[in-house]
């Protein structure tokens, strides 16, 4: 049965960004009903009951996170909306914010009402200028219509939302890096605990959520938790700790496919389905060699693993770090695996914030080795060094403050494990890989 999109239902409509258009489609009715009939706690209970898990990459249960805020706190409590979206190959939130900003804004207001936040910061990466302007316009319209500001719809509840622009740094997507950046400092992630729910922005309790997560909040309150749980993948009965993968997901498809784009599907679609049924198949009639299944940080999948479902558990079963952002980038059979890994290592070396030595040095070493590989000078011992570095940096081995380093290690580990023969052939033949990087000035 074909799935009917809800999160993207309005994207593509002529008037998808205006408040009139949104209200014509029933927009803000859910908010009005919640403000009238429900307490904040009840909103949280519905979201918790739906089993919604964060769409920003970590998959933490959203309602549960909200309950970590201190009970009866005198405030202020903050919401930071994480629109840094810098995970390479990920652009689903851009589409959502550019094309349907009011849906995201309604989610922001519902969430803030649920946990009694009176200020929300919409932290958006600088690169999303179009999305920033769309959201600023939506915010202005919402103030004028009485959905923001003092005494919203006569409920006595008040909320302000402010747009805050980033300045081109991936690490601002890590929630405590985001908070430091918002506070006007270097985006150096904080040591946790304390988690933001206890001590976040401006040392006050803070929730950080992704826009897609917040759009789902609107749909859950509009359609009910049962509707949400009828979509996606229920918990594995053999795993008591599995919270399930309920609801829709915005999947991105890019790289060597015929029709790159974003598509909304129930959680649990396979990579192969995504590529063939929604991405128009691999380009030029070629075969795929593999993909990165959830942004740069999740590691690599081989073509043979393409039947893996993209839910919160699937990618882990084939050695990937997790679902990540659900952004699939496909590379065809003629792509050099050295080029792919070179690109990924360069990214992490460039974006490491430099705070933890294992991450700062490790990402640098890994990139240096990949540079050598690309020039046709890979050494036999390089593979072992790469694996050792990749294994030893990150939160999981416990040597760094944030997860960037895990994300840097995973592509290396999975690439070498899954494509070892190809690396060995490069070493043996001394061939350089195809694309020549330019000498980059400065930075």
């Amino acid at each position: 049965m074909a799935y009917e999109p809800v999160l993207l239902a309005r994207v593509g409509k002529a008037d998808s960004t205006s408040i009139e258009g949104y209200r014509r489609d029933g927009g803000y009715e859910t908010l009005a009903r919640a403000l009238k009939d429900m307490t904040g706690e009840q909103v949280t209970e519905v979201v918790k009951g739906a089993g919604l898990r964060g769409r920003g990459g970590a998959g933490f249960p959203t309602g549960l996170k909200w309950t970590f805020l201190p009970k009866g706190h005198p405030g202020p409590i903050y919401l930071c909306v994480n629109v840094d979206e810098s995970e390479p190959c990920t652009f689903n939130n851009r589409v959502l914010v550019e094309k349907d900003p009011h849906q995201v804004l309604e989610g922001i207001i519902l969430a803030c009402y649920a946990f009694k936040a009176t200020t929300a910061y919409f932290y958006i990466r600088y690169e999303y200028g179009t999305g920033m302007r769309a959201m600023q316009n939506a915010i202005d319209e919402a103030y004028a219509a009485g959905f923001l500001g003092k005494n919203i719809l006569g409920s006595g509840y008040h909320l302000d939302v402010f747009v805050h622009r980033g300045a081109g740094a991936y690490i601002c997507g890590e929630e405590t890096g985001l908070i430091e950046s918002l506070e006007g400092k270097r985006a150096w992630p904080r040591i946790k605990p304390p988690f933001p729910a206890i001590e976040g922005a401006f040392r006050k309790p803070t929730i950080v959520n992704n826009p897609e997560t917040l759009a789902n909040v609107v749909q859950i309150l509009k359609r009910g938790a049962d509707w949400f749980k009828s979509i996606g993948v229920p918990p594995d009965p053999k795993n008591p700790r599995d919270a399930g993968s309920y609801g829709p997901k915005l999947y991105c498809i890019s790289g060597h496919v015929n029709n790159p784009g974003v598509v909304e599907l129930p959680l649990g679609v396979t990579v192969r389905q995504l590529i063939n049924e929604h991405g128009g198949g691999v380009w030029k009639g070629k075969k795929a060699k593999g993909c990165i299944p959830g942004g740069n940080s999740m590691g690599l999948m081989t073509e043979a693993e393409f039947d893996t479902p993209l839910d919160f558990n699937g990618p882990g079963r084939v050695g990937c770090l997790g679902l990540g952002t659900g952004a699939v980038t496909v590379f065809d059979e003629d792509t050099s695996i050295v080029d792919v890994l070179y690109n990924l290592c360069r990214f992490f070396q460039h974006e490491s914030c430099g705070q933890c030595t294992p991450c700062r040095e490790g990402t640098g070493w890994m990139f240096k080795i990949m540079k050598r590989f690309q020039a046709g000078q890979g050494r036999r011992e390089d593979l072992a060094v790469l694996e050792e570095v990749a294994d030893k940096i990150g939160i999981m081995p416990g040597t760094t403050i944030c997860g960037l380093a895990d994300g840097a290690g995973w592509p290396v580990k999975t690439a070498i494990r899954k494509f070892r023969q190809e690396f060995e052939k490069y070493i043996q033949d001394g061939t350089a890989s195809k694309s020549k990087p330019l000498p980059m000035a400065a930075h």
Binding site: S86, G255, T329, T335, R346
Partner: protein, 172 residues
């Protein structure tokens, strides 16, 4: 509390009132003044194409911080430019991350370098275009993608499109 220790008679007054007012207007949005650091740097760089040292001092003054604190934050984000390397009229970013790389992003960057006669981060001699490489700009469905200031331009996949884009930016 952070003390205002930036009483520097030589620095006040160079920042145009319009910029100063826009910065001050943001203060009520945040519980402390330091949070206005990034917005203030953006406002200044948008107008002046760089953040001069004297502007750092004046921002510090408005936010009751030391200039070193502003500079510390500013230098973390490779985004901001100083007196030594001001931006040209338009900033052109070429994405080099994976989805673009797989569809010729590296070649596209090389094409821009040779046609503009600059390396990434440099500005053309007429001061019109500053070329930058970018990590994923979130427009991967239109790879290879570029960004003109903060607006995406997708599928720049032929030399003719490069020529047309350069012409367009030179005319600005």
């Amino acid at each position: 509390m952070i003390q205002n220790n930036t009483v520097d008679a030589g620095c006040a007054g160079k920042l145009p009132d319009s910029i100063r007012e826009r910065i001050v207007a943001l203060l009520p949005r945040y519980p402390n003044k330091q949070a206005v650091t990034l917005p203030a740097l953006h406002i200044v760089q948008d107008e002046l194409r760089r953040v001069p040292l004297w502007a750092i001092r004046e921002i510090a003054d408005i936010l009751c911080l030391s200039p070193a604190e502003i500079h510390d934050t500013m230098s973390f984000y490779g985004f901001f430019r100083t007196d030594q390397d001001p931006l040209g009229k338009t900033r052109l970013w070429v994405c080099r991350s994976l989805a673009c790389h797989l569809r010729g992003g590296e070649e596209l960057l090389a094409e821009f370098c040779s046609k503009l006669g600059v390396a990434p981060t440099e500005t053309t001699s007429d001061g019109k275009i500053t070329l930058e490489f970018a990590e994923c700009i979130g427009a991967c469905e239109g790879a290879p993608a570029v960004m003109i200031n903060d607006v995406h331009r997708k599928n720049i996949d032929q030399p003719e499109k490069v020529d047309a884009l350069i012409e367009e930016l030179r005319a600005l």
